[in-house]
């Protein structure tokens, strides 16, 4: 496992030095998941697109000081923080009508998700409150452990575990109502 992580960081370092193949591998491996993370947090396809671009730009320019974790978790953290920042910025700048915002995200989901089941899942995740949604997103899309989520959100570990449980339970119920579960 450690070996995998080491070679992943080596490949990341090659991308940082301008190696095109390493760059392609990095992007192919992480883009879609980061896009989902950004989409769920911002609720906007445009914002998510920007967050993903910016995540890669920041990551490639970053001076890496710690390679004990995974590249996936590293990118996930950057994307999550950028997405939260972006959401706060949009909220500040635009007087958002809540209903309009929800409609907007549904449109956004239709536009960016080709798969019908993905759209149902995305709708179920979007229906969660922010606290539950962020735990789910960090765990499944950000590559974080429960301990790391507790630390980055500043909530007790027990709360994180309870939130992931209810978040997934609620998503499953939504999916079942729409006949989209196995």
């Amino acid at each position: 496992m450690q070996e995998t992580v080491d070679s992943e960081w080596e490949s990341f370092a090659r991308a940082q030095r301008g190696d095109g193949m390493a760059w392609g591998v990095l992007v192919a491996r992480h883009r879609a998941r980061l896009a989902a993370l950004a989409l769920f947090v911002t609720g906007s396809a445009e914002a998510a697109d920007e967050v993903v671009q910016e995540t890669f730009v920041r990551a490639l320019r970053a001076r890496i000081r710690d390679t004990s974790g995974t590249v996936r978790g590293f990118l996930g953290t950057i994307a999550y923080r950028l997405a939260v920042k972006e959401t706060a910025r949009v909220r500040r700048n635009v007087e958002l009508d809540r209903a309009e915002h929800v409609d907007g995200s549904r449109d956004a989901l239709e536009r960016v998700l080709a798969d019908e089941r993905d759209r149902l899942v995305a709708g179920a995740i979007a229906a969660l409150d922010a606290g539950h949604r962020d735990v789910l997103v960090l765990r499944f899309y950000g590559g974080h452990s429960y301990e790391e989520i507790a630390e980055s959100l500043g909530v007790p570990l027990g709360t994180v575990k309870s939130r992931i449980f209810y978040a997934v339970k609620s998503c499953r119920e939504t999916l079942r109502e729409r006949g989209a579960t196995s």
Partner: protein
């Protein structure tokens, strides 16, 4: 034989069972009960679906946009600022990416979903914890990400 409830199996699949005794008891039951194993499998399939949304049409242009990056040697000066021209170029590529993305989106294969191997192996938390020497995210000092996101 009393079967395990849906909530118990979900907590087991998510590795959030309250106590080690309880977790071990569920694991023991699963060994002898094909019915509960089947329900656990279906829960795991749902988790895979919930964890597996991949917006193939989003940010597709990034692949064609390899930044010319200079490795930052010392300090974090020069990290800031992304010139307007680069943004315009990026925007153009996003548009191209979206167009191309729409074309290939439906044919993009689903990437396997990451689920911690411990989910599958039902290893006791102690083992999982020692295996987590490789943490999912990067354990870093406070301020590390702030400097990147500045």
């Amino acid at each position: 034989m009393t079967h395990r409830t849906e909530d118990e199996l979900l907590a087991y699949a998510l590795e959030v069972v309250e106590s080690e005794e309880e977790r071990a008891a569920i694991a023991t039951h699963l060994e002898t009960c094909p019915e509960c194993r089947g329900r656990l499998e279906s829960i795991r399939a749902d988790i895979e679906a919930i964890a597996g949304v991949r917006p193939s049409r989003l940010a597709a242009g990034i692949l064609d946009r390899r930044p010319r990056v200079q490795v930052v040697r010392a300090g974090l000066g020069g990290v800031r600022g992304f010139p307007l021209r680069a943004w315009l170029r990026a925007a153009a590529l996003i548009v191209i990416g979206l167009v191309v993305g729409f074309g290939v989106g439906s044919r993009v294969e689903r990437e396997p979903v990451f689920i911690s191997p411990a989910y599958m192996e039902a290893s006791p938390p102690a083992v999982a914890a020692s295996g987590a020497a490789v943490s999912d995210a990067t354990a870093v000092t406070p301020g590390y990400y702030e400097s990147i996101l500045e």
